[in-house]
């Protein structure tokens, strides 16, 4: 009975919400603002200073070079998959570590989060690729005559996982803290040990609560992986530039790359919705 009332009012609210303009004055304001903006853009592009520039558009390039784009997407997905796994693991452990009562674990987690959140990812990747290699060379390779090389994908995944793991740790921590203390006490009073409380009471709820902000961190992995191009990884960003090199059609190449990144983001969001639906949860959008 209550549901019927609620759904009626919700429907009514939704119906009202989709009305675009509430007053004629609003309609005029809309036309003025956006119509004026559109007119300005059209004038600028076709009659104004920009009109002097001569550029012929070649959108067929995108189809011709689809192979490059596909390779780029493949590499990006590869980096994304591995970084996702590692950063999730790191994030969950870090989140638990930050809310535990064991002091040294908490200090370690706080240290980890602070260090890796306050250094740019670019610096971290270069450090992992060049800096670490120098250490390995000096300490392991030269004395022992070995040749352990740090491949660029390894360096990238390492840096990306550590970086995203720090952020995910914070998210998990906020989720854990949102579980009422009463549940902890109830669990202890029914005889569950600490580990059992974590496993059966706290974590399942916390991880479900944090899915929306975690989703946005997952999307950030995809976007941050573009930086991998700077250490010689042939990802989507690299191939966008390569297409541009060969065809000199910069606009089309970069737009194709950007659209593909957006598409990957959409796919990731869709996958997260799927996971939520499969788990029987209410599907919520990313934060």
């Amino acid at each position: 009975m209550a549901d019927a009332v609620l759904s009626r009012t919700a429907a009514a609210r939704a119906a009202r919400r989709w009305q675009w303009f509430e007053t004629p004055r609003e309609r005029r304001a809309f036309l003025l603002v956006w119509g004026g903006l559109a007119a300005l853009v059209v004038w600028y592009f076709f009659f104004g200073p920009r009109a002097q520039y001569d550029y012929n558009w070649r959108w067929s390039i995108v189809w011709q070079y689809r192979r490059f784009l596909l390779w780029g997407v493949g590499t990006t997905l590869y980096i994304f998959a591995w970084s996702l796994v590692f950063s999730l693991v790191l994030g969950i452990f870090c989140g638990i570590g930050r809310t535990t009562n064991v002091r040294w674990v908490r200090a370690l987690s706080v240290g980890y989060v602070e260090i890796f959140r306050n250094i740019p990812l670019l610096v971290q990747m270069w450090w992992a690729y060049f800096g670490l290699q120098q250490v390995v060379n000096a300490v392991i390779n030269d004395p022992l005559g070995l040749r352990i090389l740090i491949p660029s994908t390894f360096a990238c995944i390492l840096a990306l996982s550590l970086y995203t793991g720090a952020y995910m740790g914070e998210v998990v921590r906020s989720g854990i803290r949102s579980i009422p203390r009463g549940q902890w006490e109830a669990a202890t009073s029914t005889g569950l040990s600490r580990a059992q409380t974590w496993r059966h009471v706290v974590l399942p709820q916390a991880l479900v609560i944090v899915i929306p902000p975690m989703a946005s961190e997952v999307l950030n992995i995809i976007k941050n992986s573009a930086i991998a191009m700077t250490i010689a990884i042939t990802d989507l960003m690299f191939y966008s530039q390569k297409i541009e090199e060969e065809t000199f059609a910069g606009f089309e190449a970069y737009t194709a790359g950007t659209l593909l990144f957006l598409l990957l983001t959409l796919l990731a969001v869709g996958a997260i919705y799927l996971v939520q639906w499969l788990l029987g949860l209410k599907v919520r959008s990313a934060g």
């Binding site: 120098q134 390569k242 000199f248």
Partner: protein
Amino acid sequence: MRRLALALVALVVAFGAAADARAADSLLDKVKQKGEMIVGTKYDFPPMGSINKDTGQPEGFEVDLANEIAKELGVKAKFVQALSKTRIPLIVNGNVDLIVATMTHKREREQAIDFTMHYMITGQRAVTRKDTGITHVSQLAGKQVAAVQGGNAGPNLLKVQPKAVLVQFQEQTEALLALKQKKVDAVVSDDVLNQWWVKHNPELVLVGKLYTIEPYGMGVRQNDSRWRNAINQALMEIWDSGRYHEIHFKWFGQKPEFEIPWYPK
């Protein structure tokens, strides 16, 4: 998510807008009016273009040459970094007026930009560490070789040695670093840079002979003959007056062994 999908569609539609093709005035007038010429040059390619560690300003053979050309035209030169992969887009998109960045004059590049006359001829070769024992390009099969993305060196190597594995960096310094750190076994690059590296890094050694010929041309915008002619004529003035030879001697320690394709007034 629906918002994102709508946004995507809007973006695609917005950029399907038609272009216009209005002719542009010559860069020569614009540069003379501004009093300043924006030149793209390399920052990672000593002795042609690099950053002076004390002043933080670009210096090199090409930097000096560009400054001389600017003097001939009566303007000042302002320098911007041009990477191998960005030098052509910089000209095409109008971010710079002139590219003097160790760019080989290639027929396929003429689709996008115009070239001035050659101001130097060099070739390409591989550089390696002494401990790899590589003495010929054929030994690079299956090995990791570093090159800079957007330059000629990578594709040219693959023509000579298709089995080499290319590792593409953004700048020459990174390629050299990878070589020194033993991540790659060789670096392919233009010989002007190779000679410099070998001179300053005793653990490096050149591999075999040059396997390509690279005439360097300056890049200018397409269909702008007045600008291109102005640069060509400035170059010839610099050659005639002997300043080219002075600059060459300053950076290479010897007189140039080639002649620019000069023509009379």
